[in-house]
Symmetry: none
Subunit: 131 residues, 4 copies
DNA sequence: GTGGTCTAGACCACC
DNA sequence: GTGGTCTAGACCACG
């Protein structure tokens, strides 16, 4: 469960956690019944307060995405079914559009952009390999 | 000066305004001395409180990016020069990283991602051609 | 709107506020549409953090007892009707029973208890006269 | 040793246990050297986790009110003497104040309050007579 | 000025 | 060890 926070973005940290776990659940990357990281260690890893993660989990539970069991950690809800690829594609396009528009504003062309994307995929895979 | 707000993102509205004006200035899309929209009409167009726009402008002024001239609106600072490419590159990478992580969670691989990026560049260029 | 907090009781402060406002509303001591103290001054008067009062008000709003209007303070809900005396009597008896049982444990007899009650009514009335 | 918990009050459970045992000790209802209920049965009777009772006993021990004897349960501290009336009076006043304030909010006057107190003493004495 | 939100630290109840 | 709650400080959006 790789979670990447951007503290400069201004987007609330707990929402970044919520959105990333929702995405992972939507794609089937996490299976129903599968345990999520417990609150304290995840908070430590992300360098945020325990309550910030707790709030994210509480939000996910109230949306019916995870189930928290006192003293036993949290798991993906048993009745959770992944979203269709078409829907996930739209979720991803929203994110890509933001980056493409930003590239336009900052005057980077398509070729430069694609090169940067390659770089960042390399960086992400390196990071996964380390953990 | 097109500014697009996303009220669902959780990112503070005034910061969205600040960041978009900064990007436009960084790329040279706005020239030094060129006037920015005045607060009241911009607030109306964006459907936010005037104080929220005022706060964004105040932030931009304190960063030395714009200059407010008593009763005459604000202009891009005369001494403003577009940012070096290296800095703009870092700004863009932040945006790309978010999309790449999202792709990871949604289980889209690099090839699919690059294909989507191409599609969105096509869509953006088509849109520009129309306008 | 006299609110009396007991910081030693262990009962959460925000709940003490909620309960006392609910009681005042239940008895008709506050009328529908009548304004409540605004959050900041009340917090200052009670020597608690603003958020503690805000949480009490938020709880009262979610119970439909008060209505908070952004930038305009909070008022008792228009559709609020006071409770019948019989019900209020039961609410008060709950509180009295706790004190009576405590008196029993601490070996105070009825006469001593009644004398103390008189004293405390005097103290309360003196406090109201001062404010 | 009758202990009555109120799970709705918001007051921490372990504190309710501590306070009630302290009151019973303060009044002389328990004598020095007299055994207290052991943790496990008391936890079962009160329907709370053993740790919660253990925490209450640990708090009482650290206050010097009880003594835990390795494997033999706990007893009221040998050197424990009932509290002076002045101190017990203050403890009782805290409880009375809560009821008096509640009466104020519910708009019961002093005469009505005193009448209710009489009623509740009658009810308590009737209950004691029966048992 | 107003109410609302986000993050954090300390404490509670349970396994 | 686990998740949950209460209080607090700083910040946001609105009038």
């Amino acid at each position: 469960m790789l979670i990447q926070l951007n503290f400069k973005s201004g987007k609330p940290v707990y929402l970044q956690i919520v959105d990333q776990i929702k995405s992972a659940a939507a794609s089937g990357a996490i299976k129903p019944g599968e345990p999520l990281p417990t609150i304290r260690p995840l908070a430590e890893e992300l360098r945020v307060n325990r309550n910030t993660v707790a709030r994210a989990y509480s939000e996910l539970e109230s949306q019916g995405i995870i189930e928290s069991r006192h003293g036993k950690g949290s798991v993906l809800a048993e009745n959770h079914s992944p979203l269709k690829k078409e829907i996930r594609r739209k979720m991803l396009i929203d994110e890509i559009d933001q980056a493409v528009v930003q590239a336009h504003h900052l005057q980077f062309d398509r070729a430069e952009f694609l090169k940067l994307v390659d770089e960042r995929f390399d960086a992400l895979e390196k990071k996964k390999g380390e953990s």
